[in-house]
């Protein structure tokens, strides 16, 4: 699956160089930087424990408030996926922040890109609204702003206060692992995953502690530990997208 990609990349690079002369080399250089997922100091990841999740949907509501999302859209959805014994099993789905994200690969203007810490970010100033990323995302994690979101956010203030700018009509948006909380938290010397102010809103609000957040580069972080001690899986792993959201299955927990 990767081999043709490399060939294609090489080929396009050659073509690009041929055509590039006028447009300068800076644009090409920045493509290079984003195409090979860079590994920064931190590698953020989320672990969702399905044996704990009760499907209350607070995560979705807190997300709507903190990221000031149009009530018609959802960055984080909670789906019921079946039963284990007497218990209903749920699967909440934020953006999975794939290490090899199809959306990043297809965006014609690099409006979606990898941060050094593994977060798949959106540049809402650059997005042209072609929706190719929506077509490419295997997880339906992206929403297009079909309408402008005007007026008050019904989730505010009950579920929190907006921390980021509202997106305009005509661009695609998605979960950002609450990058604003991580970045501001790190500036203040906090540890994402441990300190609430530096942790994604969905993780903080979860009443049963079904979500863990932390740094995969730190072997002592709660996500590293949870993944070491429990069997886990990721969504549509066969596609090779390498998501950074891991699930601890409800079934395995019961047997343990």
């Amino acid at each position: 699956m990767t081999k043709p990609n490399i060939n294609r990349r090489e080929f396009l690079k050659l073509t690009a160089v041929g055509v590039a002369v006028a447009a300068g080399t800076r644009a090409v250089a920045s493509t290079e930087a984003s195409s090979d997922t860079p590994k920064g100091k931190h590698q953020w990841a989320m672990v969702i424990d399905q044996s704990k999740c009760i499907g209350c949907g607070y995560c979705t509501l807190a997300c709507q408030a903190h990221n000031d999302i149009n009530p018609e859209l959802q960055w984080n959805t909670v789906n019921e996926v079946g039963m284990v014994g007497e218990k209903h099993v749920f699967l909440p789905r934020p953006c999975l922040h794939c290490e090899k994200a199809p959306c990043v690969e297809v965006c014609p203007v690099q409006a979606t890109y990898y941060r050094d810490d593994g977060i798949v970010m959106m540049d809402y100033e650059r997005c042209i609204g072609c929706r190719y990323c929506e077509v490419a995302c295997p997880y339906q994690a992206r929403s297009f702003n079909w309408k402008a979101f005007e007026g008050e956010n019904p989730m505010v203030p009950e579920w929190g206060y907006p921390e980021v700018e509202r997106r305009p009509r005509g661009v695609v948006e998605k979960c950002s692992f609450c990058y604003q909380r991580i970045d501001r938290g790190l500036e203040r010397g906090l540890t994402p995953g441990l300190d609430q102010d530096a942790t994604p809103a969905c993780v903080v609000v979860c009443p049963v502690g079904a979500r863990l957040f932390g740094d995969l580069n730190d072997p002592e972080s709660n996500v590293s530990k949870a993944l070491r001690e429990n069997p886990s899986y990721r969504l549509r792993e066969n596609l090779g997208t390498e998501p950074r959201v891991y699930y601890l299955p409800a079934v395995a927990k019961k047997e343990a």
């Binding site: 396009l12 447009a23 297809v106 077509v135 995302c137 297009f144 009509r169």
Partner: protein, 412 residues
Amino acid sequence: MLKKLITPWTAWLAFLGILLLTGLVAGIFVFWKGLSITNLTDLVPWGLWITMDLSAIALAAGAFSLCAAVHLMGLKRYEPIARTATFVGLIGYTMAMLALVLDIGRPDRFWKALVYWNTHSLLWEVTIAIMLYTTVLVFETMPIFARFEWLRHRFPKLTTRMEHIHHYAPILAIIGLGLSSMHQSSLGAAYGIIKGRPFWFKPEMSVLFMLSAIVGGIALTLLASMLASRLTPKAKVNDALIERVSRFVGWLLIGYFYFRVWDALSMSYTYDPGRSEGLQLMTKGPLAFNFWIVELLLGMIVPMTLLLYRPTRTNRFCRMIALFLIATGVVAFRWDINISGFLVVMPYLPGQAIGYTSYRPSLIEILTGSAIIAYGLIAFSLGVKYLRVVDHSLIEQTQETVTEQSGEAVPV
């Protein structure tokens, strides 16, 4: 007085003008209200407009293929047809651009693809290639625009220069061939690389898009020429030339038919969740009529027969029917591929069954879409009338390269 005004020509223009104006109003609504007034959704983010965009580019492919044949393969006698094809090509690409401007959420940011390059993105490659190739087409059609009487009287020096570009035709043909082979295939690959949707995820997509574009593009150019020559004395065609190219199209169609059927057949045994469901939609589901009748029977088998069987091919009516059916079949192919990939909703949850969704273009999409078609028809009609876009006698007078086989130009 009024009777003088109402001629078939003015009535035709008025009809198209109304379509154009209605679409213009609808287009303003789209920019004003946003894409929420379409029937597009997050599950079907690409619909009618994308199909139009893909079809317009496909049916414009006569330009690069015929220019390559004439200027690179040395089939000089077909130059009058290549001339029409370039003009049709320019119209097709501008139509595609209009559809794209409607379709993207932020048309004001269209230029960003020129500044922020993602060389990984097929859509980036397509955007750049389309812009470059449209520029090539503008140069290629300059000698045609130099035919405009008013321009000739007003700026004789300019038109002489514009005609002079004709000498660079072989170079333009090489660039055009390169750019077109890339983006015609890449449009297919834009679907072919989506690994989350197995119905699309296969290398054949680019081959199919390329082949169908060449077949459909040449067919549309021939059809437009023949139709124009029937409707107005301004258009003069050499029917022997058209007939020979039509025969070639018939053979090409066999190749396209083979690939299309083999592609569908192979999907039936390369089972992958989502792929077989897409095939089902196409062969038994809501797209079955499109696939079996419009694409395969009417779009390939019937025209193939009509164009390869001499008595029907030499019959102008039968030939025109065949060419029309081919072009329609290519549009149906684009629609089927795009839509069936979306209607099958791939589950991301473990153990969940494959879902289905539906899409039907809204009135606003249809109105703007028909306005884009009306624009194309107006542009072609004006070209025929004022630029002598379909005039096979023109080049024979000015150029001596035409061989004796080409025969007499027949005004019909």
